[in-house]
Assembly symmetry: C2
Homo-oligomer: 694 residues x 2
């Protein structure tokens, strides 16, 4: 549109200015933003972030200004251009993998290389033999082969065993025939498949000698390396527009009896022996199990930051936005910052607490995972070298992995649900402007939502947790409790069951943690009674299992957060005001959760109804008061660059209205057109050649 | 892309087919779909729907196939073309206003005429004088003037009194000067303003003789009637892309001291007298109050159908989708329909109940509103004709309107939150495919979300309800209770307070309603005690007020639903199986809500913890079992045409996978391109002229 005339340029927002309000916010708290930031992310990561933003923001290809106005065809092309440039920069600057991922994160949207650079490479690396590494992994690492991981089918998502695609061993010519026997066998949702992949790791039911050995991975070329056209008897394309993630080419793929050589089957954990035509398993598959655990732990770890983006935007904007006078205020002239309203605080501040809680929990998960991995590797090596001592340690490791597996399932579900739903709460807390794409929350929310479904649907996963807890409870009842935390909280509950919990949740932090443990134990034994004594069907207990998993995962978050804020790592590095504030965040997260789930806490005997009433009317309200002055600094500590947030509302400098106006008037392609508004004129645009038909 | 080859065309989904599964679903229930549909919508409305779908679906301009792939510029143009054609059809077919709205509904997306054909026309009609009707309303009705309703500003949404735009009376030349004194004074979010309006009703602070009389409406021309370019000293445009609603041209608008004549101020309820230069109020403003109540009542009424779209899609798809074997099933060969899982039922079936509950509640609201309107009109007429008897009735009417106002505020918040959040639950219940735009839920959800914020933010509104209930409670305590239902439930609570509720919620439906009333009364007196005795600040009680409003609104829904299923209108028209099922839906809605809000029910003494435990473990589970066989027929009764749903997952015939595949391979413009996948080739597309730069 025509640029703003002079009289528009001269206009400023009504006072006080957003920048002044954020300055006041930052002045009224002494929370140690920089120290806290280093504790959350490390200094190295923060420095790296500055370096990367400088590089990326100077390249026109990464410009974000038009993103939300473009159609899918254009967005996908631009995303591929971004992916290409990112890869060029990675090579030119010799980025490490961490640097590459960090840069991809900053760009703010997935690119069509997303599944190539993660699942495809990881699968080749972990499940390929040295020969296959040379044949596939090397060119894939150099982007000569572009691949994807094709597991999910049109008719099968969660249930991998139900996949329909087949790979049949042909003993005569030592090949496999890959085939899609039905329409529902079509691979579907496969990221990087729709437009860019020329290879796919295809999960297919392996048939050898007429027998089905279950799903196995095959590397299959699907497009010509030169023309990029689909190969014969391969039907492949993009599955269409989605709620978000539209810069990814999620694809479909059908095979009509396509033959592939023996080397196509990734052979580290299972092979078909060429000589005997027999199926053989040269190694143990627990490590695969470990990969999914890693993926889920990573989702837990990221959830804190995912949520923090929304909370940062909403908190800053609610400090800038003013609306109505406080009814009881003496100064009736000026309006109140929205962040002062208790109805806003009760929505935002528990999420501020949750982003810290999830961050520390995710960190705990990753540490546990890595410890366990090194222990497993050591045991495996011992196994190979000596035989004898190894296997037992391996089994112990496998037990721990089972615990980690269950924990990662439950926490993945809780963390991604908290982050996803929390982002929408943040968006709504921004009022009308939250709905603008320039708020930066909506697009981020829409792109994040699949996380609640993939890597195990959040509802499905809760069964894994329940299964694990029921097993642990049976062991405890049979006198076979272990030294694990789960075993201990179940034993403690049994020993005190008659007396009830009587925890002092209002004054003693460790008692809050104990109350969460108590509730988990109570729900576990309740579910066990229904299943083992009442002989209730598994299906009829799914709702109980979901509640149980949620309860257990909330306990884990509360416990991790509690341990973190009391750890020397934090108390030693930070001043009193900052650590006190972190303690208050812990209490707010825990007590607000307790209040939300009040019915379970009192019916388990963990707390009394009087305590819950005090939590609701006194404790939580007081915590909101205590945390309020520090809110802006607490989000500042997350150190999101403005360029990453891409949000008018969440700008560090508080120039919310100037930026909304600038983007609407300068970056909005709709304003380059003049419409013809009259229904009886067929043309939609002025100065357009007449159309024969509307 | 190239059309599917023969071998692809020959593929079918794995058996059983979706069509067979839906046939089975429909065969296993005798719910009277057609009779129920007529009861919900009336036969006339259903016939009209068939007629309109036939007309609309035959016009290429209303084709929906590309919608979700297009960018905003293209979508907006197409939406205007749709709006134009719709208006042409309305004139050609002599549609009534109801027919026009019904057709607009079927199109499935807002058009840029949306606010012209509603708020602009309504405001002119209701607030204009006969002279203004001739000058503005007539040409506007004929789309010669295209207008919008410009109230919200960049810095002011909820707080209308805080608007910054001014209209200053100039006694010398008998004009008003409209001005935007700051950037935050810019009108913002105004539908139909961004591109199509040439006039606006501008809400501005009226200044007469230096005194501010608050916000008043002015009709202001903003664009040239021929060129459609903005007039001088007017800066106007579209505010940019949004989370949804992208086919609407929400706009911004700034004035630089623009003079408009005296006739511009809509003069039915207030004027500036030309002769005396005095502000005069010729009529009472309660009717304006009434308009907002009508708008909110309408939102309540529509919420049931809004939600029903999502529930229809999810229920049908969950009956077609099969995943995993039931763990306890004897037949391990075939997979279970997802709808059989309790974890799916507990998410979907309470929403199925809620859509009926909201529908009947909305209907009750509309009836009450209309009754009250006719009473008010009669009283106003009596007032004009006789003087004396009128005013008192008018005051009584105003009292009733205050009740209606509060009720509509609370129910608007509850109903739109239930519908909006319910749609997202439906989307997730569809698993991965729910994320595809072809599911039809995501786009609908995104377009609906503003309803939770506009016409009163759902959180803000709850204060109106609390204020009303506190006032009623004070009157009851002062012995000045009235005959209203609110007064009665408060009195009943006081009379039984010591004994507690002891309602038989498990067996007696009327006791369920009474338990909801009890909880409302309890929370009301609690809040009153905090405010009047404890002298707590208004701000510190906002969270209590929000809980109170929610509780009261849930009571109203439960009560309306209870009365509807027991009304002769329903019991007389429907067979036993259908009425029993409706009763079960009532119970499911009520008991599931009670369980969700358990803590408030027991702490108010409405029910015991033992009862809640029975509701959770027995009653709700049994209701899920009872309703499950009728689920598909219960959504069929809503009679959404496939053309309206625009959903592969929700097709009436169950051909889910065929349709997803057809749309991905035939209607997806991304598949017309061949990409160049290699990072070192600058071109994104194959066969593209080389670009100088990425």
């Amino acid at each position: 549109m025509s640029p703003p005339p002079a009289w528009v340029k001269a206009l400023k927002p009504a006072s006080p200015q957003g920048s002044e309000l954020l300055e006041q916010e930052r002045a009224q708290s002494n929370v140690a933003v920089d120290k806290l930031a280093e504790l959350l992310h490390t200094k190295d990561v923060l420095d790296r972030q500055d370096r990367l933003v400088a590089i990326l923001s100077s390249e026109k290809v990464f410009d974000k200004s038009q993103t939300h106005s473009l159609g899918r065809v254009e967005r996908l092309q631009r995303a591929l251009a971004k992916g290409k440039r990112l890869q060029q920069l990675a090579v030119q600057n010799k980025w490490s993998q961490e640097e590459f991922y960090a840069a991809a994160d900053l760009i703010g949207e997935p690119t069509p290389y997303g599944l190539h650079s993660t699942m495809f490479l990881v699968t080749l690396r972990e499940q390929g033999t040295p020969e296959q590494h040379k044949l596939f992994l090397e060119p894939a690492t150099n982007y000569k082969i572009i691949g994807c991981y094709a597991q999910t089918e049109l008719g099968h998502g969660s249930n991998v065993r139900g996949l329909e695609t087949t790979a049949t061993w042909n003993p005569d010519d030592k090949t496999f025939t890959i085939n899609s026997p039905s329409l529902t066998a079509s691979k579907w949702w496969i990221g990087s498949l729709g437009k860019v992949a020329n290879h796919a790791v295809v999960m297919a039911q392996l048939y050898v000698g007429g027998k089905n050995y279950g799903p196995h991975p095959f590397v299959v070329q699907i497009r010509d390396m030169e023309t990029h056209e689909p190969l014969e008897n391969v039907y492949v394309g993009d599955i269409g527009p989605k709620f978000g993630y539209n810069t990814m080419d999620n694809g479909f793929l059908l095979f009509n009896n396509v033959k592939v050589p023996h080397i196509s089957m990734l052979g580290r954990f299972a092979q078909v022996d060429k000589a005997t035509n027999k199926y053989v398993r040269p190694s143990m598959p627990t490590l695969i199990y470990g990969t999914m655990t890693w993926v889920r732990s990573n989702i837990v770890f990221q959830a804190g930051s995912v949520l923090a983006r929304g909370v940062t935007i909403a908190t800053r904007y609610c400090a800038v936005r003013r609306q109505f006078q406080d009814r009881d205020a003496t100064d009736q002239a000026s309006e109140t910052q929205v962040l002062n309203y208790k109805m806003v605080q009760i929505r935002l501040l528990p999420l501020l607490a949750a982003m810290y809680a999830l961050h520390f929990t995710g960190r705990g998960m990753m540490r546990l995972y890595q410890e366990n991995q090194s222990r497993m590797k050591a045991a495996a090596q011992a196994d190979q070298e000596k035989r004898g001592a190894g296997p037992e340690e391996l089994r112990a490791g496998a037990d721990l992995l089972a615990d980690l597996h269950a924990t990662s399932c439950g926490l993945k579900a809780l963390a991604s649900t908290t982050a996803g739903e929390g982002l929408e709460v943040c968006r709504r807390a921004c009022g009308g402007h939250g709905y603008s794409s320039y708020s930066g929350i909506g697009p981020w929310y829409a792109d994040y939502l699949p996380t609640l479904t993939w890597e195990g649907d959040n509802y499905m996963l809760t069964q894994q947790v329940a299964r694990y807890l029921l097993k642990a409870a049976r062991a405890v009842l049979a006198g076979k409790g272990t030294n694990s935390d789960t075993s201990k909280i179940l034993q403690f509950y049994l020993s005190r069951r008659e007396k009830g919990g009587s925890f002092d949740i209002l004054d003693t932090d460790s008692d809050i943690v104990a109350a969460f443990a108590w509730r988990t134990a109570h729900l576990t034994f309740e579910a066990l009674k229904h299943r083992d004594v009442g002989k209730r069907s598994w299906n009829s207990l799914l709702v109980n299992f979901w509640r149980l998993s949620t309860a257990h995962s909330q306990y884990l978050v509360v416990k991790n957060f509690y341990e973190a804020v009391n750890s020397p790592e934090i108390t030693g590095a930070l001043d009193k005001e900052t650590t006190t504030t972190l303690h208050n965040l812990f209490r707010l997260y825990a007590l607000h959760t307790l209040e939300q789930e009040a019915a379970e806490f009192f019916s388990s005997g963990a707390v009394t109804t009087h305590q819950i009433s005090l939590v609701q009317t006194k404790a939580v309200m007081k915590l909101l008061d205590n945390i309020r002055p520090h809110a802006v600094r607490l989000v500042d500590a997350w150190k999101f660059p403005d360029w990453q947030l891409d949000s008018s509302l969440g700008r560090y400098d508080g120039k919310v209205y100037e930026d909304l106006f600038r983007r609407a008037s300068e970056e909005n392609p709709v304003n380059d057109l003049v419409f013809d508004p009259y229904p009886w004129n067929a043309n939609v645009l002025k100065n357009q050649a007449p159309k024969s038909k509307l």
